[in-house]
């Protein structure tokens, strides 16, 4: 049975892939960015916060923390808010692609988290 944080990571990665694919579909169909895509992105952010809290909680009793691991934890929760800020007033086609990039990025960060944990 994998640890709780590992299980959350599986969910995060799967959900990040889903958000990235949907964002890509929206962008490729040249639609304006729909509101539900923003909500999906913020849901992903919420999952990442849960993952980060689980990661921080495990720091106390787990193996000695590495600066890399903590760096990935911080990065994982910062990427999406910054990306969303950069497209705040922009609902045009390319703004969905920004969400796709950010979702892939946090997915990769989540995978790296497991590798460095």
């Amino acid at each position: 049975m994998p640890s709780v944080s590992t299980q959350i990571t599986f969910i995060v990665v799967g959900y990040a892939v889903l958000v990235a694919l949907l964002a890509l579909v929206v962008a490729l169909r040249k639609q304006e960015r729909p509101g539900w895509l923003d909500q999906l992105a913020w849901m992903l952010e919420a999952l990442l916060v849960v993952r980060a809290l689980a990661g921080l909680g495990a720091l106390g009793d787990g193996p000695p923390s590495t600066s890399t691991y903590v760096g990935y934890l911080i990065a994982s929760v910062c990427v999406l808010p910054i990306a969303m800020q950069s497209i705040k007033d922009d609902r045009a086609v390319w703004s969905s692609a920004v969400i796709a990039v950010a979702a892939v990025a946090v997915g990769v960060v989540a995978v790296r988290l497991e590798m460095t944990a």
Binding site: S67, T68, G71, A75, V79, I82, A83, S86, I87, D89, D90, A92, V93, W94, S95, A97, V98, V101, A102, A105
Partner: protein
């Protein structure tokens, strides 16, 4: 800075460049401070890559507002950097006991480092022809 167009492909490029500035910079700083002796050349090159991405981010931001001069230089510098470091890492593996960001043309990052400057230059060419936002 009010004349920066709100939307367009540059938003995606800017996202990539910001991401890679942080990714390469954090990696270089961690490796330079914790394991400097293992592969100093590779780690310094990673830091150089991070600086290149930061400058590239600024260059694309400027170019999106019509000031393309800096990007015309910076994106070529970046492409030259990726190609040089990528080739050296294959030809002279002894110089790279540990990987750098641009090792093997950015294989550790899904070759995005090799694609980014090319995508940037293509966008820049389009941008120079007609500076209208898409």
């Amino acid at each position: 800075m009010t004349d920066i167009p709100r939307s367009g492909p540059h938003k995606v490029l800017l996202a990539f460049y910001a991401l890679f500035t942080v990714a390469a910079g954090a990696r270089a700083l961690v490796q330079l401070t914790t394991q400097y002796d293992e592969a100093p050349v590779a780690y310094w090159l990673s830091l150089a890559a991070a600086v290149t991405y930061a400058l590239g981010w600024y260059a694309i931001r400027e170019a999106s507002a019509g000031r393309t001069a800096f990007a015309s230089v910076m994106l070529w510098v970046e492409l030259a950097g990726v190609l040089t470091v990528g080739t050296l890492s294959l030809v002279e593996p002894d110089w790279f006991p540990d990987a750098s960001v641009w090792s093997d043309f950015g294989i550790g990052y899904g070759f995005v480092p090799a694609v980014l400057p090319i995508a940037g230059l293509l966008w820049l060419r389009h941008q120079k022809r007609g500076p209208k936002p898409i």
